[in-house]
Symmetry: C2
Subunit: 389 residues, 2 copies
Amino acid sequence: MADPVSALAGSAVGVVGGGQLAMLLAAAARRLEVPLHIQTPSAQDPAAALATSVVLANLDDISATRELARRSGAITFENEWLDLPALAPLGFEGVVFLPSLEALSPLVCKRRQRQLLQGLGLPTPRWCELPTDGVLPADFAYPLMAKLASGGYDGKGTVVLGGPGELASLQARVPQGDWILEEMVPFELELSQLACRDRDGNLQCYPLVETHQHQQVCDWVLAPAHVPQAVQAYARNIAASLITAINYVGVLTIEFFYGPGGLQVNEIAPRTHNSGHLTIEASHTSQFEQQVRIVSGLPMGSVALRVPGALMVNLLGFESSANDYPSQREALAALPDASVHWYGKQGSNAGRKLGHITLLLSGASPQERALEAEQLLARVRSIWPLPGA
Amino acid sequence: MADPVSALAGSAVGVVGGGQLAMLLAAAARRLEVPLHIQTPSAQDPAAALATSVVLANLDDISATRELARRSGAITFENEWLDLPALAPLGFEGVVFLPSLEALSPLVCKRRQRQLLQGLGLPTPRWCELPTDGVLPADFAYPLMAKLASGGYDGKGTVVLGGPGELASLQARVPQGDWILEEMVPFELELSQLACRDRDGNLQCYPLVETHQHQQVCDWVLAPAHVPQAVQAYARNIAASLITAINYVGVLTIEFFYGPGGLQVNEIAPRTHNSGHLTIEASHTSQFEQQVRIVSGLPMGSVALRVPGALMVNLLGFESSANDYPSQREALAALPDASVHWYGKQGSNAGRKLGHITLLLSGASPQERALEAEQLLARVRSIWPLPGA
């Protein structure tokens, strides 16, 4: 067997997953002329048409992942809902995972994320186990956030508990659920830091961005974040410490609460992320191109913005429908410096991420860009309503 | 789940294996008052009586290893014939292996050992794949050593090939065997370097020893080796480079050829080793105590010799017999500064390692100790014959 690392340079990428993140990875791979193969259950999934080839199988089908590996130099994942024990034998059969299963191991579970952050002395909300007897530890008080340790996303798997009655009700409803409890962190703003590290240990951090949620789903993102330089430096340092400590290779995202308590890590996503979609148009190297470059063994590109700023707005489903909204997409694309990405999902329902639009900002100051973004967001809203609005 | 490393300190050790190495580990653990549990198929195996508890199962029974892990803070292995893909899921279930499966991965196969050594620029005999068409690569010539990539030991799984006829005959005899071919390295002496590294990365190297074989099985060992200081330093540097590069935790042994071409790595054993048995009496900390200390999270002890030198002679079976040789063992134990270790195996046959004897040497110079060793070896031989002699 050849040395698994040096054999990778420029080689094909395998992606377990076929959703919009895989689709945007596949688009980046096409531009780089890097073959990219996916494993996904349906040929109608967003990434299928753009991938070089598709292994049609459920995401947890290990023999399909073995076949994906046969076609690829290294394998990466679209999401972190992974059965690492089931994948582990492939690692010893010579399959290269980037990031490695060892690096993913502390990130695929919210409890282990908290333990990792605590172990590294990085700022993280206080947490405890869900008490089986209903009695909170002495230094915890309601309200608390209950989080499913594995498998939650976009607000799914998180429940605010106002008091012991709601705790009892949660336990009655999901007696087998593996939950942790976190203190509610007061914050003014949510921030997101994208970082990337290649197989030689080189590390880069994208500019920090603001993320704005609607009903616990990412609604819009503004780059760069309008926060003091020291906060930006702190976010970069947290990302650099974490990604290096676990020897992570690839793109990784850290979501922060920012408020009176300073920065606190909310969640870590071991992958490209919705908050980085605007890098496609706004950065010299998009998060997707960067991930493909790293996994296929090409040198990383620059993560600097090539414009003063950018606004990304998610196109969230606002109704149950089979409509694919051609006229709205046309109108959105006609906005100034706008790029519409449509994921081609089969059907819409409220809150589903159907696509996104990125709008470049030209204002020289944060204040000018904030105003620009506000006006552009209003124009997007006039074409594409918020769900439930 | 608690941090797997800090939770280990002083904790119970699990050993997959029940032979003499496991027995000597169990004896060391008793002296340290560290619980040590083993997995072995028979309650009559050498280590069973000394272990704190025994999981009676074949060594490749993964659910038995899971049970062993339940009783132990960390698991170590008596030998390197491991099915790493089968063990890998346990790693992601939270089982701690020391050394890790990742560190073992390049060592459990002779081909990967050669690739690892080449990749690190360490001296290793030239090798090639067994040619399927019978035609050697241009720069290889007979005689060559054929080695089974996995599972060989004590000369089993190695065949000297004098010419193409013997290659054809090997291929006809074991058509499915996974063999590599190595050039024959001319040497004057075989040397062995024991090294150990703890979970914090601290590294120590035992004094280099000479190993002398009889019919490809270790016959006797002399410590320290009588070779120039520069050779001792080179052997230590090779061990330090290798053990650090693969982030190996535990005791590891490197066997060398030493001759006109300088040092060449013959084999790497990821474990305690026959060439280190004399450390029980001759060193401040034996290889077995050191391994137990590392795996149970205790600080390592000194690897220095506490006497000028030592001779270890294997008590190899010289006949097929159910005799356990009480009078010979009595006579051996009566030799000056002698310690006899008897493994209590069920029955003897020619070449089987039934026990060993260590004799301390007091000579101040290498020449004096060589003479002492020669005389003591003759006295051992007068009591315990060589097989086939």
